[in-house]
């Protein structure tokens, strides 16, 4: 089987293979990882470089065979993106979304996970109920929410005279909060699972000694649970920020293309509209880069939550 059996039967680290020096002691590892490395290079690294590159060019779509010069234009695309009122509106919208969605997600998922962590009977049934929206296609659930929150939908029927006018999804003050609530509901189960894993790592003795010191349910939650899952809270905040900043399907379908009148348009929706529908990939790429910088800054702030005080 192996040609190296004679000189290094047990420890491959010490084998003197011809490629050992360059590729490490087990060159098979390189071969096995190669498809994945090529995949990351083709669909992640290269498009990432291209996205930044296009954002500094006067770029337009051409036929595959045509060789066209794309002149370098400096920050021109960024200037036209920043000065565009539609773009400004979309970043404001996403801010509204994040202010509602991120804290709500973190609080509700931690509370529900701690509740789930305390019960034994039916625990897995509850777990399934909570993550079922997360694993289901957004397109499918949007179909349901559209009907529930439409003018004559079930929600307004139940609210009766309290129903907002214009209705939820066509009301410019309520469209974005409605989307934020929908996304919180849809994603919550995933974050509950993350917190559950973290809660299982908190030693029972900590709760017992806190109870001995006279801490009630709230006290134990604040003094044992919250600090115990701090690093996961940072992760939950970061993932919620990334998910929220990349909103596309919801404003595209639920509020029919970012309506009413752009009140729920998001940066990614504009990337699609400007980049692909209106064929301005250069400005669209600039919006994308701005969005990623924004996500990066917010994520770094969120990561601080995970650090011990």
């Amino acid at each position: 089987m192996t040609t190296t059996t004679h000189d290094a039967p047990v420890r491959p680290r010490r084998s003197r293979r011809p490629l050992g020096g360059v590729l490490g002691s087990q060159p098979l590892g390189v071969l096995l990882a190669l498809p994945y490395v090529l995949f990351l290079a083709t669909v992640m690294a290269w498009p990432l470089i291209r996205a930044v590159w296009i954002s500094f060019q006067d770029y337009f779509f051409t036929a595959p065979t045509a060789v066209v010069e794309h002149p370098f234009v400096g920050f021109e695309n960024y200037i036209s993106a920043i000065t565009d009122p539609q773009v400004q509106q979309s970043f404001k919208n996403i801010a509204v979304f994040l202010v509602i969605n991120v804290p709500l997600t973190a609080i509700l998922s931690l509370v529900l996970a701690s509740a789930l962590n305390r019960i034994v009977r039916f625990a897995s049934a509850f777990r399934v109920a909570f993550y079922i929206p997360y694993v289901t296609a957004s397109v499918s659930l949007i179909g349901v929410w559209m009907l529930l929150f439409s003018r004559n939908g079930l929600v307004n029927t139940i609210l009766g005279p309290l129903a907002p006018d214009p209705s939820w999804l066509v009301n410019s003050a309520l469209a974005m909060p409605s989307i934020a609530l929908y996304v919180t509901w849809k994603q919550l189960g995933f974050y509950i699972l993350l917190y559950l894993a973290a809660l299982q790592g908190i030693p029972k003795e900590l709760y017992e000694s806190a109870a001995m010191d006279g801490a009630g349910v709230v006290g134990r939650f604040r003094n044992v649970t919250v600090p115990g899952v701090r690093s996961v809270t940072a992760l939950v905040l970061i993932l919620a920020i990334i998910t929220g900043a990349n909103l596309f399907t919801e404003p595209y379908l639920l509020t029919n293309g970012g309506g009413p009148d752009g009140a729920s348009a998001t940066p990614v929706l504009l990337i699609y509209q400007k980049g692909i529908q209106q064929t301005n990939p250069d400005v669209a790429s600039a919006i994308g880069v701005l969005l990623v910088i924004g996500i990066g800054v917010l994520s770094m702030l969120a990561a601080r939550t995970g650090k011990e005080n």
Binding site: Q26, L40, A51, R118, V128, A129, L188, L194, L253, V268
Partner: protein, 293 residues
């Protein structure tokens, strides 16, 4: 002695009934929340089989008016079977790529020593922070113009071919296997490839189930990417076909609610059933290791 026992007993029963009451409250709150989570699925399942789903609370528990007409209607508009087949091809392609290349990468990252391993792991953690939407425009240009893969299954599959979360989970499972197993196999003279295929992989079968579940929901539910690159309706997965119906056709139809719910149910229930039946493979700890690496 007697007084001590009594005190102890009374304290015990008081805290016992206290825990019991708080447990009841806990179950009540959890049940209410769980209902809020599954209610839309009930609404979907009932409405999909109703001749005219309306919006009064009493219609949530219909006693009659059952019909299959909604499925016939949505099928006439978007070829339900054809769309499902497209979703299936897209999903199976991604599953095949992840269960072969992803598994190999996970093994390589956990059990083999090679130069660049640490760097690849660091890159993987970074990759999770890059939003797909930023890559959307260059990927669109690359796949449709450079590779000429617009309106093709391959173009749909390519950006999802290997699920990074799956690689993390495979790596975690392979790491948990005892080193002695590998040493013994090496003493017996098994090659590294042989050790992987006949010893390590059979031992991580639960990981394969977990990864299959997690990977399945990616392409099956994906809307944006296949929506961008399929202009040809014959190649659109169900999520795209249904979204197009919701955003265009339904506005002109007279009573599209039933048809939308029938389409939504067709898209949702394969996944719902999969996760209800195989829920033991979708554990908190696995999901966590898939995200944190």
């Amino acid at each position: 002695m007697a007084s001590r026992t009594r005190t102890k007993g009374s304290v015990g029963s008081a805290s016992h009934s206290g825990t019991r009451r708080s447990l009841l409250v806990l179950y009540a709150v959890l049940t209410l929340c769980a209902l809020a989570f599954i209610f839309p699925f009930w609404f979907m399942a009932v409405g999909a089989f109703q001749s005219s789903p309306t919006s009064s609370p009493t219609d949530l528990f219909p006693t009659g008016g059952w019909t299959l007409q909604n499925f016939t209607d949505i099928n006439a508009r978007l070829h339900l079977i054809r769309s499902l087949v497209n979703s299936m091809v897209f999903t199976l392609g991604v599953l095949a790529g992840t269960l072969t290349f992803g598994l190999a990468a996970g093994y390589s990252l956990s059990r083999l020593q090679w130069r660049g391993r640490g760097a690849l792991f660091a890159i993987m953690l970074g990759v999770q922070a890059i939003p797909f939407q930023l890559l959307m425009i260059p990927l669109y240009v690359q796949v449709t113009r450079t590779y000429g893969l617009g309106d093709s299954y391959l173009g749909m599959i390519l950006p999802f071919l290997i699920n990074t979360t799956a690689v993390f989970i495979f790596r975690q499972f392979f790491l948990s296997l005892p080193e002695s197993l590998f040493e013994a196999a090496r003493i017996d003279g098994a090659s590294e490839l042989r050790i992987m295929t006949s010893i390590a992989v059979p031992l991580v079968k639960p990981a394969i189930a977990t990864v299959a579940l997690i990977t399945f929901i990616g392409p099956w539910n994906e809307f944006l990417w296949p929506f961008l690159i399929t202009k040809n309706a014959e190649l659109q997965p169900l999520a795209v076909a249904l979204a197009n119906y919701i955003s265009n056709v339904s506005q002109t139809a007279t009573n599209p609610n039933g048809a939308i719910l029938a389409g939504a149910a067709t898209l949702a229930f394969p996944v719902v059933l999969l996760f209800v039946f195989f829920q033991r493979y979708f554990e908190a700890s696995d999901i966590s290791s898939g995200v944190k690496g």
